[in-house]
């Protein structure tokens, strides 16, 4: 039975578990489906199962929509959010009101933010303005800017093994691999192969050369970074695109997806078989995240204003 929480009036965009506390999670949501209006950051504890199983702990409302969030890997009370007005904000959940830091350099909506979970000292943001920026919570300005995508960069994701490498995907249908040490801020490689915009990307936590992408072309593709010519395998095309993919922190073979078919699923990437379907949402599911503490536990958030936490039955080995 799922534990639930309602972000009333706000449509869920992203949900992430805290890397420090096993029952702590946060959700980013926006009014009017993110079209106009405010945003809300909700922090909650997974206390028990059932419709009020997620207990709210903090709630912050923002002028503009929030599209993504990422917990600070080095500070247990902090998390960063990505805003519709192009800014990034750092929040401390022990404080009740305003963010502790704000950075505004992107020219357009920030679509993703991710903390480096290997080096833990920096985080990335990617934006509709086509750029990706590297930040430190202690620095007032971005450390580096990476330009190479034509159009919106939907996701930037750190490599689980190389602390200096990350991959991005975007509106220009490409996936690019970067190193923060590359002197000219140019991508190391560019992977073509999707027929349409690429929305989401995640790395295999066990096989550091593998990553998975999902695209508007309604497919999911598995890639090997050593082979830029094309994907290793492909699932789909489905009826609707997948908005977010996430590799399991406990299994090299399983991904969770959230999509426009209004459901979230778990897949085995070796076979393309769907292992589990979470069908309880009634609008597009935009966010999905795996628990780092409880194998097989997932959180989802959706435009139906619901955040769900549930366990995938069976082992995922």
């Amino acid at each position: 039975m799922s534990a639930k929480y309602r972000t009333a009036g706000f449509k869920g965009y992203a949900v992430k578990f805290s890397p420090f506390a096993d029952t702590l999670l946060a959700a980013a949501s926006s009014a009017n489906f993110g079209l106009v209006g405010n945003g809300r950051l909700s922090v909650m504890t997974a206390a028990r199962s059932g419709p009020s199983g997620l207990v709210p702990r903090q709630q912050y409302d923002t002028q503009d929509a929030i599209f993504d969030l990422s917990w600070n890997e080095a500070h247990e009370n902090q998390l960063a959010t990505a805003s519709g007005d192009g800014s990034l904000k750092l929040w401390d959940i022990s404080l009740n009101n305003f963010p502790v830091a704000k950075w505004h350099e992107h020219g357009r909506e920030v679509m993703s933010v991710e903390w480096n979970y290997v080096s833990k000292a920096t985080f990335l943001s990617s934006s509709w303005d086509g750029s990706v920026k590297l930040w430190s919570p202690a620095a007032p300005r971005s450390l580096r800017t990476f330009e190479g995508h034509a159009g919106c960069v939907y996701t930037s994701a750190w490599s689980p093994q190389q602390p200096d490498q990350f991959a991005t995907c975007g509106e220009d249908k490409t996936v690019k691999l970067w190193s923060i040490n590359e002197p000219h801020a140019k991508p190391l490689t560019s992977f073509g192969g999707h027929a349409d915009q690429v929305l989401s990307l995640d790395w295999n936590k066990y096989t550091p050369t593998m990553f998975v992408t999902s695209s508007v072309d309604r497919t999911i593709k598995v890639w090997d970074i050593r082979n830029p010519r094309g994907q290793v395998s492909m699932f789909g095309p489905f009826e609707f695109s997948v908005r977010r993919v996430k590799f399991s922190p406990f299994s090299p073979h399983h991904i969770a997806t959230a999509g426009y078919d209004m459901s979230a699923s778990v897949w085995d990437v070796r076979t393309g078989a769907v292992v589990f379907v979470h069908d309880e949402h009634t609008e597009f599911v935009f966010g999905v995240d795996w628990s780092l503490f409880h194998p097989g536990q997932l959180a989802t958030c959706s435009w139906d204003e619901q955040v769900h936490v549930f366990n995938v039955p069976g082992t995922l080995a």
Binding site: N32, L35, V36, D61, R108, E239, M262
Partner: protein
């Protein structure tokens, strides 16, 4: 109203096929930070005002049309959730113009007010279509996307640009072209001016949501002919590729290019008589260090061109192309060898190595299985149930591994078979058990200390585990035995890169490339004589793209952007002033 609308975000999703995400517009004027609770209620009034009713009409058109497009794309789904979806209702409201965006919020359009602006637009001023034509023109001269947020709110350009973006290509430009084309069937057709006449009668059709969506439906159907030649080709190949790339073809070499061996042009060995050529080839095989790799390959190409049924010759060619760091050519040649002689064990093993290098792991397993199944000594180990065990990716791996371990056990003590050790080494490479692979190769090397191929494989395996120093030592050994061993030199440059020695890495790449290039040049010097039987295609035996790519990376790491560009053009001379090779 228009300025408020332009401040709003145009945001569209892609729930179904083909409706792409559209960028949200940021507020052109930032409002002062207010208490968040209050701002939701108060509409944000910017200082800019709508300049014309036309902009308003067009802006509202765009929002409604995008909403209608989304609705069209989800219309045919069997998914029951869409019927009761709030988002879909919201899209209906926008499409029917019962709601619109004003400032920072969504507002309902008051009844009675709505038809007027549209009717005015239709009857009096320029029509929707001519308005669009104007936008199309703007688009042709459009400003890059980066400037979007700097444009003033009155500029309708922002809007149509997003609309064009929404359809993933220069929609408006193509729309212009097709106005007289495939859309002539639909209501929107022909010269924009003619539209005035047509609209006078069914004007009401263009006011309400229903007809709009019909038009959009039709338009979506007409998108196909709108695609230009290139797009169509791309779609076709994409469909082909998708057919091939299902789960069954994961980790498999399905590229049809791999079946074609591309011969080099201007092969001077073609001048030799068949007997002389045979002698040359034999001589090269006896003393491989005497001739350069490039020459050997040329001679072998001539030989297979003259006797295309000679499986042994194809095998030699494949092996040499592996040494030459030309994997595709190697695969093509080895496949040819196997098609002529299915029992060529060396070919199967070599092909397994090529497949492993390229990531085609399942094919690699197949080849290793072939090796055992055709080996006189070991074929008895293959059980009747082999086909079942080879059926899925998971079972195949364990099954083949077990087979080889049994083969190794067959000859215990001093009598063990280095071939099996080599094959096991390749197997462990596939499954990324690199430590075990290293043991296997080292063992095989103890019986074959002068096998430079094995030294290179050992090096490559060490490199995979990150033992770059050991890898380098192994590569040096290989190069001592075979100085023109391009692959080993390329691998050496990779190891240098991994150790942060970018200059050494670049130098090794350059040595390898210059070796490959010199062959091309010396060919030219010796005279040209076309072999009529050889395929006249661009040489695969030229300089290796993988080596150029590695060199380019080194240039980035050394901070030499101009030289990195030279890599794109494969211009070796650009490097001579900076590097010694």
């Amino acid at each position: 109203m228009a300025m408020a609308f332009n401040e709003a975000r145009m945001y569209s999703m892609m729930p179904g096929p083909g409706v792409a995400m559209m960028p949200r517009m940021m507020a052109a004027q930032q409002q002062p930070q207010q208490q968040v609770g209050g701002s939701v209620e108060q509409p944000l009034l910017g200082s800019t005002q709508a300049s014309s009713q036309l902009d308003l009409a067009a802006a509202n058109d765009g929002l409604a049309e995008t909403a209608a497009q989304i609705l069209a794309s989800v219309r045919n789904t069997a998914n029951p959730k869409f019927k009761s979806s709030d988002f879909v209702s919201f899209m209906h409201q926008l499409a029917d113009r019962q709601a619109t965006i004003s400032g920072d919020q969504v507002v309902a359009n008051q009844k009675g007010k709505q038809p007027e602006p549209q009717a005015a637009a239709v009857a009096n001023g320029p029509t929707w279509a001519s308005e669009f034509e104007k936008r199309a023109e703007e688009l042709v001269n459009r400003v890059p996307a980066a400037n979007v947020s700097e444009q003033t709110p009155q500029d309708g350009k922002i809007f149509s640009e997003e609309f064009a973006r929404g359809l993933e290509r220069n929609w408006a430009e193509e729309f212009e072209q097709t106005l007289s084309g495939p859309l002539s069937e639909s209501a929107v057709s022909g010269h924009p001016q003619e539209m005035d006449v047509k609209l006078d009668q069914p004007s009401s059709q263009y006011v309400h949501g229903e007809a709009n969506t019909d038009w959009l439906e039709q338009f979506k159907d007409n998108i196909q002919p709108m695609l230009n030649e290139q797009d169509r080709e791309w779609l076709d190949t994409q469909k082909e590729w998708e057919k091939l790339n299902s789960v069954e073809t994961a980790y498999r070499a399905v590229d049809p290019e791999l079946n074609i061996y591309r011969f080099q042009q201007d092969n001077y060995y073609a001048q030799l008589s068949p007997e002389a050529l045979k002698d040359t080839v034999l001589g090269m095989q006896r003393t491989p260090e005497a001739a350069s790799l490039g020459d050997t390959i040329l001679a072998l190409e001539s030989a297979v061109a003259q006797s295309p049924q000679d499986a042994k010759m194809w095998l030699q060619l494949g092996l040499k192309q592996q040494e030459n760091e030309q994997e595709q050519a190697a695969i093509a040649a080895l496949r040819k060898a196997i098609s002529l002689d299915a029992d060529a064990l060396d070919a199967h093993l070599a092909l397994a190595v090529s497949y492993t290098n390229e990531g085609y792991q399942m094919d690699a397993y197949d080849e290793l299985h072939e090796w055992i199944a055709r080996h006189d000594r070991y074929k008895a180990l293959v059980p009747e149930s082999a086909p079942e065990s080879m059926a899925t990716n998971e079972t195949r791996k364990t099954y083949v591994q077990d087979l080889y371990i049994n083969a190794a056990r067959m000859s215990p003590g001093q009598d063990w078979d280095p071939d099996v050790q080599v094959a096991l080494g390749v197997l462990f490479n596939i499954s990324s058990e690199y430590d075990k692979a290293v043991d296997c190769f080292k063992a095989a090397l103890s019986k074959r200390p002068n096998d430079y191929i094995l030294w290179n494989r050992l090096g490559a395996t060490e490199a995979h585990v990150g033992n770059n120093k050991d890898a380098t030592a192994a590569y040096f050994r290989a190069l001592e035995l075979h100085p023109s061993f391009i692959r080993a030199r390329y691998n050496l440059s990779l190891a240098s890169t991994n150790m942060g020695q970018h200059r050494e890495a670049a130098e090794n790449c350059l040595i390898a490339l210059s070796l490959q290039q010199r062959e091309l040049q010396s060919m030219g010097e010796r005279g040209v004589s076309a072999n009529p039987e050889a395929a006249r295609v661009a040489p695969a035996g030229g300089m290796s793209t993988t080596i150029w790519n590695a060199l380019q990376l080194s240039m980035y790491m050394l901070g030499e952007p101009k030289l990195a560009e030279a890599c794109e053009k494969q211009d070796l001379d650009a490097f001579r002033s900076v590097f010694d090779f």
